[in-house]
Structure formats: structure tokens, C-alpha cells
Symmetry: C2
Subunit: 527 residues, 2 copies
């Protein structure tokens, strides 16, 4: 199949979509028709999850148009090209292989002279063996005592994803008895970040993971030095307390400063690296490698669904298409991610990076400016907390913000309390159900201050419980959604040139090689 | 002075502004002109802070227009009416008195038969005395042992502000030797939230603060029961471990279930309650009441600046006006809050509630729909972390997002490390300076993928150090900014009717009194 990389606005199906009659969401969600939509506008995901888009501002006609768009934009073919090893990251001239950390969706891919699936599995095994030795006391500190804490030093994709996943599974692992070590994270170059974490742990029993693909990330190397100073001040040998996650060609790869080095490669971008050794090392140490393996299996199952050419059996593709419709036809800028699960407290921050860093672009794959809107602004906090905060604007503000709810039927820990005839978990679930309808249908009131216009679209992913498998499936869903949207917008979702200029200018400030406004700001900040 | 509550689009000064020639930010920030702007577009705040708006998309003509708008919209007069005790919260027919928790800006205000300044000071004294007794061991658990941990049970404004402030001052207090007790927070009705917090503390030595103005917030009462069960299961007398922050008329006020009750009233909305007993109890227990008093003093000093009728000496008013210009003339929907301080990690989440819940309205004070955009979407994360995450979209995305930076010359803990000839703190400050210029000026590149258009506006608040006084000033600045914007938009910033419908529908779900789409969603979620 010949692949055409065309801008979205050149596609006939998009032009047709833009002219298709729009849906009155409050109207279609009312009464029995609404009930029918909830039952039918639903796609199974992996691990028992379901993606329900009944409360999105679509109908059968628009959905048919989106299916045509998927076909004309060759979304399935482009994904196939990606997992079969084509150079999809054209800016950096790289393959895009994060799916391969959790399975092989198509042909074997050989790069750098090795089979890449074999490479990723090999690293996972090496991590698993290392973690087992730490857990069983074969690898200890110099005094022969077990490590109790693992500290990830990394920023961006080396921080947000692994941190969100750790928080998502911490209580589950404690309840299941698989919790092995507490994990902490140092990311910011703000010296108070490292100092506060170091002040909160027992460094003598802590193992540090330095994560930097290039081995040159300034924030991370700075924080490594900070940690090494602390170890030295405690009379400890830093090299007995540190491992590295880095590329084989980085200066860290063969250094004696580390107990071990686990390799990543150029085919996995930072924000897609949670299922590589970047997430694997810290999560295997914290929860055991079996838990990390379950997480990978959940992601692998969801990845398989994303291969489906039939959009009605491909939840990530459908979610992506509806998002494009909202961004480019309805003109909505933001999307709020609202998990009704306290354990997912930092999942929106991870998705914020995943989405905004991937598709926050204004040139296409060939470096030509595009004439349409691309990636949305992503933000979010857990429900029900958000209900007592920014939901006011979502319900009654002057701009419509599409919503992505996530909910689970069961809690992770299982302790609960009955107040007013219902458990907390039932209250949590009742609230998310109620919010979907409140946003979609609104409610007329003669007092305009108490009037809800409705017409505010949302989707929900529902699962039985947040656990390693369902979390892996969730992560895969959003990674693939973002990928499909990048294909529709014809942007390269896998580079991030937008972060470079700030780095260059910051170096200039530190070297005192500035003039004009930058010099005055530097003076104001006492640099 | 007669106050006229007019819609923004009826004001001549606004219509003139909309027709004023717009600024090419990249151009005006270049070269010596840019340097001059940074020096002159700057207003002193309290406690040594400075608000710099050089990189905003304004010039002298637009600023003059904004000053006219401030006058025509009677911003200073409206604030004066507010602090002198007029019923500014028209929807709920209430005074708005949060400023009075930290000072008296105008006339004495008597309500409910008491002088309100006296009332708030009295509560602060009561809290201070209680905290001192906990710290010195006069108030202990039943075994006569000191409390070591304080746990706030509250949601929305009873959670986000106090939590953000606690995190902002935790390391400072530890360094200064004023740290008294660790604080934890339980907010979500998700049972895993309470269970995880209870699993992480020693309940026998924990003091719980139940925060609910009405005494009827379902999430909070549910979590109270959860905590009481845990105390009972540990063989403890719950009433020896709990205090309440509530209104004098609530069912909690005179209950024997609490060691003490600290009062709040109807004149302080949840999102404005950090400087009342809602923040005061937990922060006085955590850090000592002297620290909380310093925080109030910083806020009081900044409040005084907000009285200034001269907009050039009123940073909150100026910030508000520039924000209105961005929202209503330039048409930007979002604002990102980007503190270069890890300690401010949850400050954006608090501002998100403060701003979006206050001004996310589409009717004016009289309940009539407005024909213009109101409150923006607020989101943010600390720098430098955000630079490695969503900044890609901010630099190169298709939509412009105005930015609010915050930076401090010095860290809180003071431990640092020199790498490549600079400290971490210098790197942190160099990065924020660099980002302002990168966003404003951009950089041309023949490779369009590496091209930065610039023209992306930001402001920055710069301080010496984040401490109780500067944090109080910061909080006051943003509270007053939001208030002034509400005045310009002619909305009631002090009610939140948009949260009601969801509550009503959730109750219906729990009572199994639903039909249509809501019934099917409830079934899907197993309620």
C-alpha cells in the first residue's frame, strides 16, 4: 500500500465533515434516544475496559464521515508502517518503536544490527534480574544491607510517566502484597527538589536511577551531582548506589560509576518511554518485575486493537477522530482529562506531556506550515476534587472544553464506609455518571444564574479496577490516540524542536553572553 | 461615588481598546527597545516582589487604554465597596470579606451583630492558642502523648489552597526550624484517598481537622466517617483526635465530637478561605502560628497595593487588565501559570480553582447572559519540568497561550551544587529568563521545523525567596487579579452555581431515581 502524507485540509472527507450538520448534544442525549446512544456508542478495549462516546457531539452521519477520514488519511496503514519499522520520525530520521517494548505487532525490525524486539526483551530481563537481586539481598549497599528506597533522577518523559504509573499502582501493590520498595523522584533543576527528596529518605539504603538517553541532560546531570555529594557526605561510595538508564553510546553506558546500565535507544521518545527501561527499572524495583510485565501485557493487548482497520473496533482511532472533529470542526482548543480515581492524580500531567509535546506543532512532516489547528491544550485533575474546583467554568463558562472521563467500578484498597446508604466508591461512580449527563444535557432554569446550557461533550473509559493491566491498556490507548491524531494532522508527533531555543538561550545567560531584554531579565534574576 | 455595574462591551474605553493597533511583540522586545521595556514595564509589589509585564503584548497606547478601562469600570471604587462591606456577592446576597482575615482596608464592617475584623482576629487567636497547646504538649492524645501529624479533611477550597501553601512552606519551615508537625490531606470521595493517607500515618498520634462551612459537604462527612472508623479500629476515642473548622450555625459547631471548633462565616468563599481558619488551623499546627501570621502580613501588604486608584501602582489591577485584553481583544482562551519553584508545585492547581470557579460564568451580576468571553482556562506545572513537557505546544503550537511566570533569586533550603560553572539555582533562573525571551522573540530558521515565530506573551513575578510573607503577597495578588477581572466582566466572582447540577444528579443516581442515559451510565458503573 502506497502511503500518502497529505495535509488534513486537502482530504475530501475532511471537507465533507466540516459541512456535515452538527449535533445538538442536549437533544440527542435526552430520553430513550439518549439511553440507546449510551448502549450503542461504546467500543470494548483490552482488559475489560470500555470506551463510551455517547456523550460526544457526534451522530451516525458524523461518525461515518470520521470513518471515511480514517480511510482517506490511511491511519491503519500509517500505523502499520510505523510498527514495521519505517522512518516515521522524519525530523530526526528515526524509527518509532515504543510499541515493540511490549510486543511485536508486525514484522521483525532490525536496526543497529540487532532485532529490536529481542533487544527490548533482553533489557527487560536484565532489569528483572537486577531487581530480583536487589529484592533478595544479593545486591546490597556496602554494609551488606538491603536497599529500601529507589529514587529516579530524570526529567520530562523520564519523570512524568514513571511517576504517574508509580502513584497509580502504589496502593494496589501494597494491597496485593507485591510492594517492594518505596520510590521517589527528583526532576527539577530547582535545588530544593533534590534537597527535599534527599532530606526525606535514608540515603544509606537508597538506590538511585539516573535516566538520560543522551547522558547529557543538564538538569539530570546536575541532580546526579547533587545526589553524589549527599552520598559522599554520608560517607558512602556513590557507585554502590547508582544505576543508569541510557543509550549504549552515551558516556554513562560503560562508566564504573554505576552498578549497572540498562539501555534504551533513539527509537523511543522520552514521552513514550514508560514501557521501556525508563519506566521498567524504577517500577520493577518498586513493585517487582512481574507487576511491570503485567503492565506491558495490558499495553500490548490494547496495541493490538489499534491495528484494526475497522474504526468501530479500534477505540484509540475512534477517540482520535472524535478529537480531531472537536478541534477542527467544532473549534475547541482544550481537552480536560478527569480520572475518577485518586491513584491517577498525576496521569493527566503525563498525558499533558504526551499530547502537547507530540502534536503541539504548526508545521507538517515536511516542515511546511499547516493552515489548521493541531494538538489541543490538555489539563486535568482527579474527580471528585475537580468538581469542587474548576468544573464551574466547564459547566457555565463561555468556552466549551471537551472532557475525557475515566472511572472504575471498584477501588484498589477495598476499605470503604457506608454513609447515607451508599459506599464512597458508589458515590464516586455516581458522581462521574451524573457529571456526564449534567454536561451533556444541562438543565433549564428561569434564574439564568442556575441555568445549565448543556451541550458540553465528554467520553468515558470504564474499567473494573485500576491495576497494572488496565493501566497498561489506558496508557497504550492514549499513546495511540495521539499518534493517530498526528497522522490526521500530518505532523511529526515524535520530535520536539520547540524545546531547543530555550536551552540555547539559557546557556547564553549562564555564560553571560546576552544583551538587550535578556540581559536585563538576567540582571533582575541575579544571574 | 455612585457605582455602575455595566457589561464590559457597553464601555467606551473597551470599544476603543478593541480598535487600538496591536503590538508586534517580537519586534518591540528586540534590541535596546526590549531592554528599555524590561526596565520600565515593571511594578513593585509587597515584600520585595516585582511584577514585570515587559513581555506582554502591550505598549504605552494600549496601557493607557487599559487605565481608562479601569476608570470607566470603576475598579478601585468597586473594590472599596467590597472591603467596606457592601453585598458584592449578589447571587448569594453576601458580603465578601476574605481581605479582612488579614487586615482592615477600610471602614469597620459589622455583620451578624459583630465587628468582622474582630471576629476573624479572635478566631486566629483561638487557633494560635490551640496550636501552641498541641505543640507544648498541653493537648495530647488520650495516652498523654504529643500529636505529630495533622490531617486536613476537606475538598475544593478547603483542600487546594491549604495544601498548596503547606507544600510551598514545608522546606522553608524545616530549614528555619519552625516546622512542628507533618500535614496530610484527605479530599477525594474515592475511598482509596482516605485509606492511603491513613495507611501512611500513625493515627494514634494524628490530629484531624474536619473542614466544612455548612457541615454538610458529603465528600467531607464521608471521609470523616472513614477516619472515625480507623480511629475506632485502633481502639482510640475519635473525639480526642478531631477538631472542626465550620460556621457557627453548622451542626458541627457545638458537637462533643470535636476537641475544638474554629469558626468561619458565609462571607468567605471556599476558594478565598486560605487566610481564614480553613488555612489557619492546619498551617498554624504544621508551622506554628507565627509563620501563619507572617503569611497574613504578606497578604495584607499586597492587599493595600490593590486599593491604589493609580493602576501603575496597583500590580493586581494591571495584571487583571492585561489579562482582559488578552482574553477579549486578542482572543486567547488559556493562561498557563509556570512557577520556577518546585515548592509551588500545587500553586497552579489552587489558582486553577481560584480563577476558573470565580470567573467561569456566562451571566452577569444580574443573571443576564453576556456577549463576551469571561474567565480563562488556567493550568500549569513548575519549571523547569514543564520545559521538558508541554512547552513544545506553547512554543510551536497553533494557538497562543499567555504565560504567567514566577521566579525567585534564592532557593529555600540553600544546599546547591556547581556544575559547568553555575549553581542549580542559577540554572533555574537562567531558564526562566531564557524562556521569556524565547517565547516573545522567537528565532527564525530556514528549517521551519526549527523556526520559532515568537509573539507569545508572558509576565513574570520575581522575588528574593519564597517564604511566608512573599507567598502571602503572591496569593493576595492573584485573588485580587481575579476579583478585578470579575468586575470588568461584570460577573459575580463569588458564587459557584455551576457545581450544583452535578450534585443533584449524583444524589438521584444513588437513590436509583434515574432514567434514560443516566440510568444506563449508572448501570455501566455498577451503581
Amino acid at each position: 500500500m502506497m502511503i500518502n502524507w497529505n495535509n488534513m485540509d486537502t482530504l475530501t472527507s475532511f471537507q465533507e465533515l466540516a459541512e456535515t450538520k452538527q449535533v445538538d448534544l442536549a437533544q440527542v442525549m435526552a430520553g430513550e434516544n439518549g439511553a440507546k446512544r449510551v448502549k450503542s456508542y461504546s467500543v470494548p478495549m483490552a482488559e475489560g475496559l470500555v470506551y463510551n462516546y455517547a456523550a460526544k457531539q457526534v451522530d451516525d452521519t458524523i461518525l461515518a464521515g470520521l470513518a471515511k477520514l480514517a480511510e482517506e488519511a490511511q491511519l491503519a496503514d500509517k500505523f502499520e508502517a510505523l510498527y514495521n519499522g519505517e522512518v516515521i520520525n522524519t525530523g530526526e530520521k528515526r524509527l518509532v518503536l515504543h510499541h515493540m517494548t511490549r510486543g511485536q505487532l508486525g514484522e521483525a525490525v532490525v536496526a543497529d544490527g540487532v532485532d529490536k524486539r529481542g533487544f527490548y526483551v533482553g533489557v527487560q530481563q536484565k532489569v528483572a534480574e537486577f531487581a530480583a537481586k536487589v529484592h533478595n539481598g544479593e545486591i546490597t549497599n556496602a554494609a551488606g544491607e538491603k536497599f529500601t528506597t529507589v529514587v529516579q533522577i530524570g526529567i520530562g518523559g523520564s519523570d512524568l510517566g514513571p511517576r504517574a504509573i508509580y502513584l497509580a499502582l502504589e496502593n494496589w501493590a501494597k494491597k496485593q502484597g507485591t510492594f517492594k520498595m518505596e520510590a521517589k523522584f527528583i526532576s527539577n533543576v530547582d535545588p530544593d527538589d533534590a534537597a527535599a527528596v534527599l532530606g526525606s529518605i535514608d540515603v544509606a539504603h537508597s538506590l538511585f536511577i539516573l535516566v538520560s538517553k543522551s547522558g547529557t541532560t543538564l538538569e539530570t546531570l546536575t541532580n546526579e551531582s547533587f545526589v553524589k555529594d549527599a552520598l559522599k557526605n554520608a560517607g558512602l561510595d556513590a557507585s554502590r548506589h547508582m544505576v543508569a538508564v541510557t543509550s549504549e553510546t552515551s558516556p554513562l553506558a560503560k562508566s564504573d560509576d554505576y552498578l549497572a546500565a540498562f539501555f534504551m535507544d533513539d527509537y523511543i521518545g522520552g514521552r513514550y518511554s514508560s514501557s521501556s527501561a525508563v519506566g521498567g527499572a524504577v517500577l520493577s524495583l518498586a513493585f517487582g518485575s512481574e507487576v511491570f510485565a503485567q503492565f506491558l501485557e495490558g499495553a500490548a493487548e490494547e496495541d493490538k486493537l489499534a491495528k484494526n482497520k475497522d474504526v468501530w473496533k479500534n477505540p484509540a482511532m475512534l477517540d482520535a477522530l472524535i478529537g480531531v472533529y472537536e478541534r477542527n470542526v467544532l473549534g475547541y482548543l482544550c481537552t480536560a482529562v478527569l480520572p475518577y480515581s485518586q491513584a491517577l492524580s498525576r496521569f493527566p500531567a503525563h498525558l499533558q506531556q504526551l499530547d502537547m509535546e507530540s502534536n503541539g506543532k504548526s508545521v507538517n512532516r515536511f516542515g511546511e506550515p499547516v493552515d489548521y489547528q493541531t494538538g489541543p491544550v490538555i489539563f486535568g485533575e482527579p474527580g471528585t476534587n475537580g468538581q469542587h474546583s474548576f468544573y464551574q467554568l466547564l459547566h457555565q463558562g463561555t468556552s466549551v472544553v471537551p472532557l475525557q472521563f475515566i472511572g472504575f467500578k471498584n477501588s484498589q484498597i477495598g476499605t470503604d464506609v457506608v454513609i447515607q446508604d451508599s459506599t464512597s466508591q458508589q458515590k464516586l461512580c455516581a458522581n462521574v455518571a451524573a457529571q456526564i449527563i449534567a454536561f451533556a444535557c444541562g438543565k433549564s432554569d428561569e434564574n439564568r444564574n442556575k441555568n445549565f446550557e448543556g451541550g458540553r461533550p465528554s467520553s468515558i473509559i470504564i474499567g473494573d479496577q485500576l491495576n497494572p493491566r488496565t493501566l497498561g491498556a489506558l496508557l497504550s490507548h492514549f499513546e495511540n490516540k495521539v499518534m493517530f491524531q498526528g497522522f490526521v494532522w500530518n505532523v511529526n508527533s515524535f520530535d520536539q524542536e520547540g524545546v531547543q531555543l530555550g536551552k540555547v538561550l539559557a546557556k547564553r545567560v549562564l555564560a553571560h553572553e546576552t544583551d538587550g531584554a535578556l540581559k536585563v531579565f538576567s540582571d533582575l534574576l541575579n544571574i
